[in-house]
């Protein structure tokens, strides 16, 4: 399956973008030419130069360095959000779909309640309740998002539980754990992968949005959304300030979405071979 993925140029490109970004984020302290916090007020809004590859912002801080350091909260926190969401969603969804009965009823009623709230509002409410902190944003995102996954995975699980190969597996006496991990999860993974990579894009946007609104990552810490927010203040006089973080967010979200499509193709053995 993975071999299929590596043959697809689009998938390679997307993974390349994501990996490269992640690598830059990890290596930020070494890759960045300047200290992201050091301001040089005389040099504010400077254009690109050898010292400041992407120029400086309104406090004279190196935009390029801030971009590199900004990868960390943007990319890693969104991945963390997705891991939490998927983990919780898969456990709940599979439990509901495979065991049915009371377990199903309880989980699905909770899911119904969760789904009846508009997600952005809930995140804002949770952040307001727990205090402005990026950790609360992550917790709130997981809290609001897992229900979507639980419902989707439950449907898929029910679909596959009735399939003959699962029935056969049960009839020869394979354990629940074996059936769940070897039959169910790989089958569900295909459907999950698409949703998950699309939602990684959503999580990136979400964290950036909340930082833009001043609810996520706090002021001096570099983050793309927060940088956009700062750039917004000088939108009329220095519009070029918005280019770097804006383009970066678009590229990353786009890569996630496209990778989702490629993953779906690769995980389905039938479409892949045509």
């Amino acid at each position: 399956m993975l071999r299929q993925l590596f043959k697809n140029p689009m998938a390679l490109l997307c993974m390349g973008v994501l990996l490269f970004t992640a690598l830059l984020g990890i290596l930020a302290p070494w890759a960045a030419p300047n200290d992201p916090y050091a301001n040089d007020i005389l040099n504010k809004f400077a254009g690109p130069s050898w010292q400041y590859p992407l120029g400086t912002d309104h406090l004279g801080r190196c935009v390029f360095s801030r971009m590199l350091f900004g990868i960390r909260p943007t990319l890693f926190l969104s991945l963390l959000t997705m891991l939490g969401t998927i983990g919780l969603g898969v456990i709940m969804g599979v439990a509901a779909g495979y065991f049915r009965g009371v377990v199903d009823e309880i989980i699905m009623r909770v899911v119904d309640v969760m789904l009846s709230f508009p997600s952005q509002i809930i995140i804002l409410a949770v952040v307001a309740l727990l205090g402005v902190d990026i950790r609360n944003v992550v917790v709130a995102s997981i809290f609001i998002k897992w229900a979507w996954y639980a419902r989707m995975i439950r449907t898929a699980t029910i679909k596959y539980t009735g399939m003959n190969f699962v029935l056969f597996s049960r009839s020869v006496g394979s354990g629940n754990f074996y059936i769940l991990t070897r039959h169910m999860l790989p089958c569900i993974a295909a459907e999950l992968a698409v949703l998950a990579s699309l939602d990684t894009g959503w999580a990136i946007l979400n964290i950036s949005t909340l930082s833009f609104l001043g609810l996520g990552v706090q002021a001096p810490v570099p983050e793309w959304g927060a940088m956009l927010n700062e750039a917004k203040n000088v939108m009329v006089s220095n519009p070029e300030q918005m280019i770097a973080p804006g383009v970066a967010v678009v590229a990353l979200v786009g890569a996630c979405n496209m990778l989702g499509d490629c993953l779906r193709d690769a995980l389905d053995p039938r479409t892949a071979r045509q």
């Binding site: 399956m1 003959n164 006496g173 039938r270």
Partner: protein, 291 residues
């Protein structure tokens, strides 16, 4: 006298109806209404019935996938749905299944070797000994007449007949006493059907298997089975112990089925001849059944 290999006594199953007349109604639809049968060692029992008569449901009960509301299934004298200690112990794999729809009966993500390996793994767990999977898979493939090169293929890379053979290999991998074939050949074309049935007969001779052959195709039953049961609306309506007497069935439903097949003349020659000398007596009967 030895006990029969498989005994089904008065099994009843019903499902909640999809369309209830009243709000919160709990009307149930009876699918099996007291089915009893016995299968002897080395025997091949045909179960014939029209669509929706509950054949596959009976199959699911026999395979241990659907606990019946009442009644019991004994395989090798062990109650399949029993809760006692004696029932839980002993070999679990008295019976194994080949399903109607071969396209969904092998996980599309499993290579053939893994699909068969799954049965071998279940066998390992049960008997607590290690099986050389690679060798055993090759042996099983050879037994069902497939080249060993199939082992690394995916299900969608095989033809229907080949895939059904894989399902058979997978079913006999657990060393069962009985194999339940739920319309195992119905979705194959005529010549492949014959091939698969010949294969099954050969396996039966070699391994002393018993078969329960669920189908709606009378021709296959006459070709393949020793005994036949006619199934209608969840009941056994007629039992034929000797296939030569097949044309003497009396139950109106069974008659109609038989007649439909013979009418278009796909029956093996001997049956058609029997029909000819039955005609004067049987005619009124048939008309009565059809109206």
């Amino acid at each position: 006298m030895k006990d029969p290999l498989l005994v089904v006594s008065d099994v009843r199953v019903s499902f909640l109806k999809e369309h209830q007349k009243r709000l919160f109604g709990r009307e149930r639809q009876q699918v099996l209404r007291g089915v009893s049968l016995a299968l002897e060692e080395g025997e091949c029992l045909g179960v014939i019935g029209e669509s929706g008569s509950g054949k596959s449901t009976l199959g699911r009960v026999l395979a241990g996938l659907l606990p019946p509301e009442s009644g019991a299934v004994f395989i090798n004298g062990r109650n399949l749905y029993g809760r006692g200690k004696r029932d839980a112990a002993g070999p679990r794999h008295g019976l194994s299944v080949v399903f109607q729809d071969y396209t969904s009966s092998v996980n599309p993500r499993f290579r053939v070797e893994h699909a068969i390996g799954e049965s071998l793994r279940a066998l390992e767990r049960l008997e607590g000994r290690v099986v050389d999977k690679k060798r055993r898979v090759a042996e099983l493939l050879e037994q069902v007449g497939l080249p060993a090169s199939c082992a690394s293929r995916y299900p969608h890379e095989l033809s229907g007949g080949q895939l059904q053979r894989v399902c058979i290999a997978r079913a006999i991998a657990v060393n069962p006493r009985v194999v339940l074939l739920d319309e195992a050949v119905s979705s194959l074309d005529a010549s492949t059907q014959t091939q698969v049935m010949d294969l099954l007969m050969e396996l039966r001779a070699r391994r002393g298997l018993s078969y329960i052959f669920i189908t709606h195709d009378l021709t296959c039953v006459t070709y393949f089975c020793d005994r036949a049961l006619f199934f209608n609306a969840g009941r056994i309506v007629e039992q034929v112990d000797d296939m030569k007497n097949l044309s003497r069935v009396r139950d109106p439903y069974a008659r109609r089925l038989l007649d439909a097949v013979m009418g278009i003349g796909v029956q093996p020659g001997d049956l058609r001849r029997e029909r000819a000398d039955l005609l004067p007596a049987g005619d009124g009967d048939v008309m009565g059944a059809a109206s």
